[in-house]
């Protein structure tokens, strides 16, 4: 009954996010392992592949986060290099897509094109790139370039990076390496790899030195929901990482992005919409709810509640009782942010304050409870059967094409989901029972990348 009448059943796309630097990761859990040891990454990736997931996803942060001028100690701190981890994981997985978040401001197109093309070759066509532009001069302190780029220039640069990177990927045709000793041709033609890209921000030319990747173009993922972001994504991206977790919010977004993609001459099915989602499982509905409550209280300790509130009020709240009422004063919108290095900022702090007040008043909540309520991410809570229903309904009703799951415990946090929910989704016919393609692009049912122009 979960498929709307007259519609074919959609296949659910699943991604596994190894969460690192954020307050959702419960590193205090007795089962929590290393956040750096490759065994953690390999365990989660293999579990995801065992559950027929499409991809494995890593976020990025290029400077340790600071709070009131000091490195923030309470969340996970530190992460490994994305390309290096994904390349290593290609050695212990066979089908799983390997998606890395990599910034366009602090990287050069030639290197980005090489790294993603290399990852695609070394994984047999499983590379994906989540293109992000954050952050600011704070992160730029670790790099020679980028600090002077304001917000609009960062997006301009991002678009131009993508143009340049695609030109590089297209500079080799798929048949360019016959490697035929009989005809003495390693290369099929003269001038492979030639490119010449001149944009406002780039003046790069020469010959690219990586043959065309197996997917043609590694997948492009975009995270962001502004009008500018939607346009960029519907024209360019193969997947969108979205924040909407209720059907009421998600369906209009889904329709809008798919319609834009069609206007850009693409198939609606060529862009996958994947909200990030948490799952909490229990033996009964009540048990799952209790576990979810426990989880959120572990994620938002009193200290974390205060820290997150300081992020919104942008003031020192250390004298406040986290189990007491919300501060009565407004946010400090003139001082520089107390928090540095967080990915997602709402520029209008007092609008956030107003929203928090509303949530608190409605539920009669104290500060900590309010923080839990507004930052909670465990979207799908229940028995395995109930969660399978919820996930399936969400997708079949066009809330999304699937989900990026972020287990709060690394690396075993997906084990139970894969053991219990995955078989139920398979029974419903909503999740594959085998990988059908060899590349990520094929497994997702995306159209092939636009072929390179013949020379």
């Amino acid at each position: 009954m979960s498929v709307p009448e007259g519609k074919p059943r959609k296949q659910i796309v699943l991604g596994a996010h190894l969460p690192g630097v954020n307050h959702h990761t419960v590193w205090q859990d007795p089962a929590a392992g290393s956040q750096i040891d490759v065994k953690s990454f390999a365990h989660l990736a293999r579990t995801a592949e065992r559950g027929f997931f499409d991809l494995f996803f890593l976020a990025e942060g290029l400077r340790l986060r600071e709070h009131a001028g000091q490195i923030y100690e309470n969340d996970v701190v530190g992460r490994p290099d994305t390309f290096t981890v994904l390349a290593a994981l290609a050695g212990v997985t066979d089908h799983l897509g390997l998606a890395g978040t990599v910034n366009t401001t602090f990287n050069e197109p030639y290197e980005l094109a090489r790294q993603f093309a290399s990852l695609d070759h070394l994984s047999g066509g499983r590379a994906a790139w989540n293109v992000v532009t954050s952050f600011d001069a704070f992160t730029a302190a670790n790099f020679r370039r980028g600090g002077y780029l304001d917000r609009s220039q960062r997006y301009e640069r991002a678009e131009e990076v993508l143009i340049a990177v695609r030109a590089l990927w297209d500079s080799w045709n798929s048949g360019d390496v016959p490697a035929d000793s009989a005809t003495e041709q390693f290369l099929a033609r003269h001038g492979v790899g030639e490119f010449d890209v001149r944009t406002n921000q780039f003046d790069v030319r020469g010959r690219f030195n990586v043959p065309r990747p197996p997917q043609g173009h590694p997948l492009i993922i975009q995270a962001g929901v502004s009008d500018q972001g939607r346009e960029f994504a519907s024209a360019n991206a193969d997947a969108i990482f979205s924040p909407f977790r209720t059907l009421a919010d998600a369906v209009p977004f889904y329709r809008d992005v798919k319609a834009r993609a069609v206007r850009h001459g693409r198939l609606a099915s060529d862009i996958k919409i994947l909200p990030s989602a948490g799952v909490v499982l229990g033996d009964s509905a009540a048990d799952a709810q209790e576990k979810a409550r426990e989880l959120t209280h572990r994620q938002v300790s009193p200290a974390t509640a205060l820290a997150l509130a300081e992020q919104v009020w942008n003031r020192d709240l250390s004298q406040l009782d986290p189990e007491g009422p919300l501060p009565e004063f407004d946010a400090d919108t003139t001082s520089p942010p107390r928090w540095r290095g967080r990915a997602i900022h709402d520029p209008d702090l007092n609008a956030v304050v107003a929203r928090w007040r509303e949530v608190a008043a409605r539920g009669g909540l104290n500060l900590r409870e309010t923080v839990i309520e507004v930052t909670a991410r465990a979207t799908f809570v229940g028995t395995p059967t109930a969660v399978a229903d919820q996930l399936d309904d969400f997708v079949q009703h066009d809330g999304s094409d699937g989900f990026i799951l972020h287990p709060p415990v690394v690396p075993t946090g997906l084990d139970e989901f894969v053991d219990t929910v995955v078989p139920l989704l398979q029974e419903r016919g909503s999740l594959r029972t085998g990988y059908t393609g060899t590349t990520l692009r094929e497994n997702l049912g995306l159209s092939p990348a636009r072929a390179a122009q013949p020379a």
């Binding site: 490697a179 041709q185 290369l187």
Partner: protein, 414 residues
């Protein structure tokens, strides 16, 4: 920025002849001879697949080699120092060496993995975390061949600086010399900064203290605050200190500027002597470079590069090379000595060079498919019989293989 390496005095004395040679293989496509791809078994059509690299490094690991290096460059291969040429009958194209090395990490067990990474165009912060992560994913087997990218056409691929074209004729030109000196000075600053970033987390920075709710102890994380004429980096790294403390840094060097770069920055230098007497002179030059840059701590380990083409006897080996040369249409030349010989002849030469102060050899197989198995199955056993090479891996990390201690952290308070 100040250099703080483990303190001890510079060592210009000859060390005792090592009992154990260090052996490594330099992985360059299907081999170093430009016609190698045409040989039977070369698997040239698989050059851009993981399986090709996994099988190649497995062979080197079967030979108990200390490490493999993975060659790289930003530019498409061509002849000489200039831009790529129009030949279609030679291997062109390569994968990013750091990613290749990382791809090998979980399918190998003991061998060191040493990719070539540029000091010229890549952000030091990225270099640092990439190599630190290689060390993490390989459980302490990561290294770095730090390479200056001095080619004009490579700079154009990036478009953010221009480097004048260097030819054999302009090599002595004072303007060109100044550019090269500047690139090497930058390379020293890059290695210094990368090493400082590796140290920017003390070994015990992650405390995971449930009682206080602290994941990390921020007093054990350190700013690097490198300000150089070429770049600046604040730090600390985003990546915890690698298992080896610092991955092993290597550099290939042929002349004074590069010897001094290696002496200031590297743990191992790859050199290219022509014979035993030259080897002795090169080692002396390396020691002089160490004195000139005021190197402190452990002396540079000097390994010699050799291109090898092996066969049952020297004449047959020579024939093999001639055949390859005629397939390519040109006589193969190299910065390193090209040895066409029998395994026994090669071993005789290795032992002579060892007596001249060379501590290890980096073999560049002329044809991977032929010469790598010959090294493993014939050269290695001869060296083992001579008591010059290990019979099993005894350590777990690349530093263990090389006999290099794990460096103390410059920021740690004792």
């Amino acid at each position: 920025m100040t250099r703080r390496t483990p303190a001890s005095r510079p060592d210009s004395r000859r060390r005792p002849v090592p009992e154990t040679l260090h052996l490594s293989a330099a992985l360059e496509s299907t081999g170093w001879h430009p016609a190698s791809w045409r040989e039977p078994g070369s698997r040239a059509g698989e050059l851009f697949t993981a399986r090709f690299w996994a099988d190649t490094v497995a062979e080197a690991e079967r030979g108990l080699f200390d490490l493999v290096t993975v060659e790289d460059s930003f530019g498409l291969q061509g002849s000489g120092f200039g831009p790529p040429d129009d030949r279609t009958d030679r291997v062109a194209g390569r994968l990013d060496a750091l990613l290749v090395a990382a791809r090998l990490a979980l399918v190998t067990e003991a061998i060191g993995l040493v990719p070539t990474v540029s000091t010229t165009h890549t952000e030091p912060f990225h270099v640092s975390k990439g190599l630190a992560t290689l060390d993490h994913v390989s459980s302490g087997r990561g290294g770095w061949r730090a390479q200056v990218a001095a080619r004009a056409h490579e700079a154009e691929l990036f478009g953010r600086r221009s480097i004048p074209a260097v030819t054999r004729e302009t090599l002595q030109d004072p303007a060109v010399v100044a550019v090269v000196e500047d690139l090497f000075a930058e390379a020293r600053a890059v290695v210094d900064t990368v090493r400082a970033l590796w140290d920017s987390w003390e070994d015990d920075a992650v405390v995971r203290d449930v009682a206080t709710g602290r994941f990390v102890d921020r007093t054990k994380l350190h700013r690097v605050a490198a300000q150089t004429p070429w770049f600046s980096v604040l730090g600390p790294s985003i990546t915890p200190r690698p298992p080896q403390g610092q991955p092993v840094v290597t550099a290939l060097a042929h002349a004074r500027t590069a010897y001094e770069f290696a002496a200031a920055s590297a743990d191992v230098v790859f050199v290219t002597p022509r014979d035993a007497q030259d080897a002795r002179a090169v080692v002396a030059e390396v020691r002089a470079a160490e004195a000139a840059v005021g190197r402190r701590g452990v002396p540079l380990q000097v390994h010699a590069d050799l291109v090898v083409a092996l066969a049952a006897d020297a004449a047959q080996a020579r024939n093999r090379l001639d055949r390859l040369d005629s397939a390519d249409g040109e006589a193969f030349t190299s910065d390193a000595l090209v040895v066409a010989d029998s395994p026994a002849g090669l071993v005789e030469r290795l032992l002579l060079w060892r007596d001249a102060g060379i501590e290890g050899f980096r073999f560049r197989p002329a044809v991977n498919a032929t010469d790598l198995p010959a090294l493993v199955d014939e050269v290695v056993p001869l060296l083992q019989s001579a008591g010059a090479f290990r019979r099993a891996y005894t350590g777990a990390t690349l530093r263990d293989h090389l006999g290099l201690a794990r460096p103390a952290n410059r920021y740690a308070t004792v």
